[in-house]
């Protein structure tokens, strides 16, 4: 009961925050919640299975672009549903084609997927609709977007908590460890991977869709910015992709650092970013949380 009440209190505080914060503060909180959700959703699949997905921005962009295209013709909630369905379908096709093969094919395919989707959308816009770039006019303020993202984050975490108590988590970790052993224990490896990849991709698509109204003007190069895939990955890895709270623990310091860097070193942003990432791969291969746990155990060991 206690953690439940504590959780409610934290969610309440976070939901109340934009009412007292200024625009900048709300914007910061919004961005942070967006990345926390992205990283958590990413880790939901890639953490246990160790299939590194570099396709985050492909789905994020699909979500954002769907909103840009449909926001004037359909009611907003329906637009979100359509976006989620498109994300789901794309992830199922990509997953079916690549997840049966060795992990490295999946990584490579996901690496280029964003570029493929971006070029295809650009081609479609130029040749079929004859426009490149769209305006989104939705009566949504920053705090409305933030509340939706917060709800999505809570939902994602609840799914994560539920998953860890159910057999699917065991199957996912087993798939990450040894697919052959998992298969002979009765796990339908392909379906398990596909289901989780699709779930994770759908949540990522929704983050893109919800955040889209923040830009009033949208074009493929804006919403398919590969930095988003990159940051999501870095955050999840820094915090620890195998842990429920890992991605959020990684997202908070890194998001603030990136905000500060892009404000102060706009030109050298990408260089510093890449450097930090290489350092993370070297210094904390299993993430901060795992590192903290081993430190904790060592301390306990010393005390005994």
């Amino acid at each position: 009961m206690k953690p439940f009440l504590f959780g409610l209190l934290v969610i309440g505080l976070l939901a109340w925050a934009p009412l007292v914060l200024n625009d900048y503060g709300t914007g910061l909180l919004l961005g942070l919640t967006g990345y926390a959700t992205l990283a958590t959703a990413w880790a939901m699949f890639s953490g246990p299975t160790r299939y590194v997905s570099l396709a985050t921005v492909a789905f994020f962009g699909i979500g954002a672009y769907t909103v840009a295209v449909l926001s004037e013709t359909l009611p907003y909630p329906l637009v979100l549903v359509v976006a989620a369905l498109i994300g789901l379908s794309v992830s199922l096709v990509v997953g079916l084609a690549t997840l049966r093969l060795a992990g490295v094919y999946f990584v490579i395919f996901s690496f280029g997927l964003a570029e493929l989707v971006r070029q295809t959308v650009t081609w479609y816009e130029v040749n079929v609709t004859g426009t490149l770039g769209r305006y989104i006019f939705l009566p949504l303020e920053a705090r409305h977007i933030y509340w939706q993202l917060l709800a999505l984050l809570v939902l994602t975490l609840l799914i994560g908590i539920y998953m860890r108590k159910s057999r699917i988590w065991l199957a996912l970790v087993a798939v990450g460890d040894d697919e052959v052993a998992a298969r002979h224990a009765g796990v339908d490896v392909t379906r398990t991977k596909l289901a989780l990849f699709a779930l994770s991709a759908t949540i990522i698509t929704l983050v893109g869709a919800i955040q889209a109204p923040r830009w009033t003007y949208v074009e493929p190069t804006i919403v398919f910015n590969p930095t988003i895939s990159f940051l999501t990955l870095v955050m999840a890895l820094l915090g620890g992709a195998g842990k429920l709270w890992g991605p959020i623990v990684g997202a908070i310091p890194l998001f603030l650092l990136f905000e500060w860097l892009s404000a102060n070193f706009p030109n050298h942003y990408s260089i510093i970013l890449g450097g930090i990432f290489i350092l993370i791969v070297f210094a904390v291969p299993n993430g901060i949380l795992a590192r903290l746990e081993t430190l904790g155990q060592r301390r306990k060991g010393e005390a005994q």
């Binding site: 590194v52 570029e115 295809t120 081609w123 990408s270 990432f277 290489i278």
Partner: protein
Amino acid sequence: MFEHLINGLVLGGTYALVAMGLTLQYGIARIMNLSFGDTVIAAAFAAYVLFTALGLSPLLSLLIVVPAGFAFSYGIFSLIMRPLVRRSANSEALEVDSILATFGLLFVIQGVLLVLFGGNFTSYSYLNVPVDILGAVVALNRLSALILAAVLGGALVLLLMRTRWGLRMRAVAISASSAPLVGINVIQTSRMAFAIGGALAASGGVVISMYQTFTVTSGVVFTMKALIVVIMGGKGSLPGALAAGLILGLVETFVAAYIDPGLTLASTYLIFLALLLLRPSGLFGKAS
């Protein structure tokens, strides 16, 4: 028709050259290098600077840029990859680690290029004179790009197939764990393969700069295409990379000419997917 064939061969030759570099890095050094295309683009910018600032022809700048690509990759391997190779328990762990580390490197290289050159499309005009070959009109720069790719690629194949040094490389590619048993220093061989891969990337960059427009962010596409060629051809197989590169170049040129230039990448992906599903070990790869 014939003109498209030649243009397709030029493009395909360049892809094959670049992909040979990647197949050395992935097949022998076992590093999946996501920053490979950015090395290519960095070399293209270097050739551009040497041409516009010093008036150096791309053929001469190869003499500077290729050794620089070698040295750069040699350094990257010693600095970043070697510790990863050492700590990884198995090749799978190394694959993931190298993907992540080179993903970071991609952003570093791109960031440096962005600071130096900005985000605009870049090209220069070199040997941009039409040549008539059997009735088809082809730019001389494209023709020389094709010849260059053939010479460089051919030299590499000869080295690998005919020399003792090449034998050592191929031994590591086949089994990195048993190569030490016959006295091969795997780390040294891997570093050499990685560095030569970098040199090939650099030469590919110079060749590309002769006839294509490029930007700081085009690296991703080159990495992607090189990866597709490597996988299509079979990991570590040079003849495979050659064949797959040519196929890719031809398909792209014909799709651009007869269907739509905006769909070339989509067609590349389609071939890739079809191949993965039909022949997962690649055109020349051995069935596992």
